[in-house]
Amino acid sequence: MPHSPLAEALRGGGWLGDTRAQMSFGPFLLLAVLEGTVMAAVLALTAVGLSLVFGVMRVVNVAHGELYMLGAVIAWFVTFYLPLPPAMGWLAALIIAPLLVAAIAALMDTLILKRLNYDPEATIVATIGLLYMLQQAALTFYGPDARPVVAPFQWRIQLPWFGYSGYKLFVVAAALAILLAVWLFMTRTKAGLVMRATQVDRETAQAFGINVDRVYAGTFALGGALAAAAAVLIVPIQQAHYLMGHDPLLLSFIVVIIGGLGSIRGTLVAALVIGLSDGIISMFFSPTLAKIIATLLVALVLVFRPQGLFGARA
């Protein structure tokens, strides 16, 4: 498996190499857990987006990682071209990028997926095509370079053993807030009820006045917006690059399969497990081992509990 730029960036790049030797086990574990938590939080956002789309529409969106990449690239454009101080620019990106990506996703749904009648196999092939189209579009209009986005603030929290990025902790809090909002939306609002009813039985939903086309476009847009929001949170830690969508896609799939396709609760638990174990194993051993274990875990789940840890039996 290729070395993960996402995980690498989350881990703080080369900076860790120096610290590792000087730190004793306890603080080192704490650092690993912190890094794992940041990873888990961002992963939960992308995976919930993927899971919602699959749950409601039965579409496996292979281009999900590219929507994430688009979010990061748009964040770069916004912060680069809007004459705002870093904090305001980043905040603007956090609003603009998810909205733009949601609009692009809704368009993808209406122009392509809907015309394929949401056939499970055809949509996989179509989203693979979209993956390359979006990637090439980014390469053409944004270029091959990785470009940084300045973090909205630069605080460091000084722990007794090491200093830690305040922004990374903010990322965790922000991801949790977004996930809470999604949960409230799904369980407490009319639109959420409409989405859940459509997920259960799209035909009967129509008999109660639900416009399934609109629900699908909205769900795909929401999935894209979540990926984009995750990217805007990550982009001050990692740089925006046209190939950055691969890893989040792979990890999101791992999380969604382990958690159970379409189960939001399972997705959250699995994101925490994968994020934390990835953070810890990568630090103590190697990132490659972490990916090997995650992949093994997926294989085990597929063999012994194909519906996922929390998924309903089909």
Binding site: K190, L193, V194, R196, A197, V200, D201, E203, T204, A205, Q206, A207, F208, G209, I210, N211, V212, A312
Partner: protein, 231 residues
Amino acid sequence: MLRVEGITAGYGPVTVLRDLSFQAQPGQVTCIMGRNGAGKSTLMRAIMGLVPVQSGQILLGDAALHTLPAHKVPLHGVAYVPQGRRLFGPLTVAENIDVGLLTRKKGLHRREFVLDLFPRLRERLDQVASTLSGGEQQMLAIARALCLEPQVLLLDEPSEGLQPSMISLIRETVLRLRETGLATLLVEQRVDTVLRIADKVAFMAHGRVEHVAERADLTADSTLFQQFVGV
């Protein structure tokens, strides 16, 4: 009045309904009988816009239902209780009722009405629908449909798999609703139920309504039942 005029409908290349016509009057229970596979459920789904109508028309008052996308049909006052109930299983009783109320601007009054009709549902508002008993599930399916305050109610074999006391409860509910001027279309296989509540019976075979009988002309030993239902 619901008028189905010469419709042909089916699934892809398979034609199930061929040149089928009949009418359902307000304040009447129109029963539909026919053997398994005769196309009774397909007819219901065609009225709901869930099966494309290739020719013919379905009219309700001024509205041409067959020209509408499926989600617009309930806006014209047509409510549907599908065969096998098709509740939103993982959702609670209250949420299933909320789905029924989606097309209504102010649903509170209607919600009280359906919960008064089935007090057992009121006791179980937070229970997940899939854990209800068969009878309770059928009550919920009917309650959910009645939330629309429909002019036309389509009931597809509501008594399937239920015990006698539950069947008579549903029968009484249908009769009470008839009083309110509702046009009810009831797919029903039991001759005794049909004889008790039908105003009119449409017998289906080969994808068409082959015969329509008035209630007054039917008795339990009518040859029509033997011919079309095989009892």
